[in-house]
């Protein structure tokens, strides 16, 4: 596909939609309502994806070198890299950045919203940064309470393995992996009517029970677009 890799290589790209349940998030700070009637708005919803691997039919794996992206709300398509032509059955990746990349000089990046600290590189990157407001009431009054979920640190570098779905990489062509990222699922199993469960802001907070629950929820955010 590229000059470096003429055929038999094809290009793999991700098409990532940001959703709150069935509604695509098109705008910041607009309330979206779930089937259960709970309103959620987001003012930021970003996450790093790295270490993308394609699983071959025989179970062996092709790791796409240097695969990394920062999913932003305002961009849905991302070039992952080149892969040998052939049939693959699945894709897997991690949410976050590998430990080696997580200790780098921040001057190499411009997205300061994904740093825990503007002064300390050893705090590493925020892997998933979702902030907004959510209706925490049982009566679903529509009154929104702010939340901040900043998930990071090396122990929270989370593997996501997608179910089998055939992919054929063709020489010189693009094969998209179409995924939905449902940020509503971050709240699964979290008692949101407890205000303490609405804020994970620091590296230290990332060892709290609510942070660990959020990390556990991360793989469930991803589903295939039908």
């Amino acid at each position: 596909m590229t000059d470096d890799h003429p055929a038999p290589w094809g290009k793999v790209m991700f098409h990532l939609h940001s959703y709150i349940e069935d509604e695509e998030i098109d705008l910041y700070n607009i309330p979206y309502t779930t089937h259960a009637g709970r309103s959620i708005s987001v003012k930021i919803a970003q996450l790093y994806i790295s270490d993308v691997e394609l699983v071959k039919l025989d179970g062996s794996v092709y790791a796409i070198p240097d695969s990394k992206l920062l999913k932003r709300l305002d961009v849905d398509t991302y070039v992952i890299g080149d892969a040998p032509v052939g049939n693959y059955k699945s894709v897997r990746f991690k949410v976050g950045l590998p430990p080696a990349s997580n200790q780098i000089d921040f001057s190499n990046t411009s997205d300061s919203v994904m740093w825990f600290s503007k002064t300390k590189a050893d705090d590493g990157y925020i892997f998933l940064n979702v902030q907004g407001a959510i209706d925490t009431s049982e009566a679903l009054t529509g009154i929104l309470t702010p939340f901040v979920y900043k998930i990071g640190s090396n122990v929270n570098y989370k593997q996501v393995t997608m179910p089998d779905r055939g992919y054929t990489v063709v020489a010189g062509d693009v094969q998209y992996v179409h995924l939905i990222v449902d940020f509503n699922r971050l709240f699964s199993g979290i008692k949101i009517n407890d205000n303490a469960n609405l804020f994970v802001k620091t590296v230290a907070d990332n060892s709290s029970p609510v942070a660990l629950k959020i990390v556990t929820n991360i793989p469930s955010l991803f589903t295939y677009e039908q």
């Binding site: 790209m13 305002d74 992919y167 693009v174 998209y176 039908q226």
Partner: protein, 129 residues
């Protein structure tokens, strides 16, 4: 003389029948010089994409409505990536239709001429013409 002519004919016959030149299939698509969204692209959507339950109505598949009244604006929706005129093959629209494993429409990949038409329209900057 007759023997000579017959020998030449046999030689020619054998020489042509026992060799071949590999000929790659050539596209015979007659795409217009300038592809029209209204006349060339939308009709493809009308036949293959915006049928009931697919890319139509208030809750279209992939949040993409390809009915005539909305399709152009939907395809150019900011951030979506459905159209990429800088890298036309990166366009989600084209790449999805051109996919072997997960083609759009799901009933099967459309013919090469239709896909050529889509790609050419994008290469021509995907105008609302």
């Amino acid at each position: 003389m007759k023997k000579y002519v017959a020998a030449v004919e046999i030689f020619l016959l054998l020489s042509t029948s026992c060799s071949y030149e590999k000929v790659e299939p050539r596209s015979v698509c007659e795409t217009p010089v300038v592809v029209s969204f209204k006349n060339d692209i939308q009709p493809i959507f009308d036949v293959h994409c915006n049928t009931a339950g697919c890319h139509s109505g208030t809750n279209p598949e992939g949040n993409l409505n390809l009915e005539a009244s909305q399709s152009y604006a939907q395809l150019w929706r900011k951030k979506s990536g459905y159209l990429d005129t800088l890298n036309p093959k990166y366009s989600v629209l084209y790449a999805s239709m051109n996919s072997i494993s997960n083609p759009m429409p799901p009933t099967g990949k459309l013919d090469a001429c239709t896909l050529d038409l889509i790609l050419k329209w994008i290469e021509q900057k995907a105008k609302n013409n």
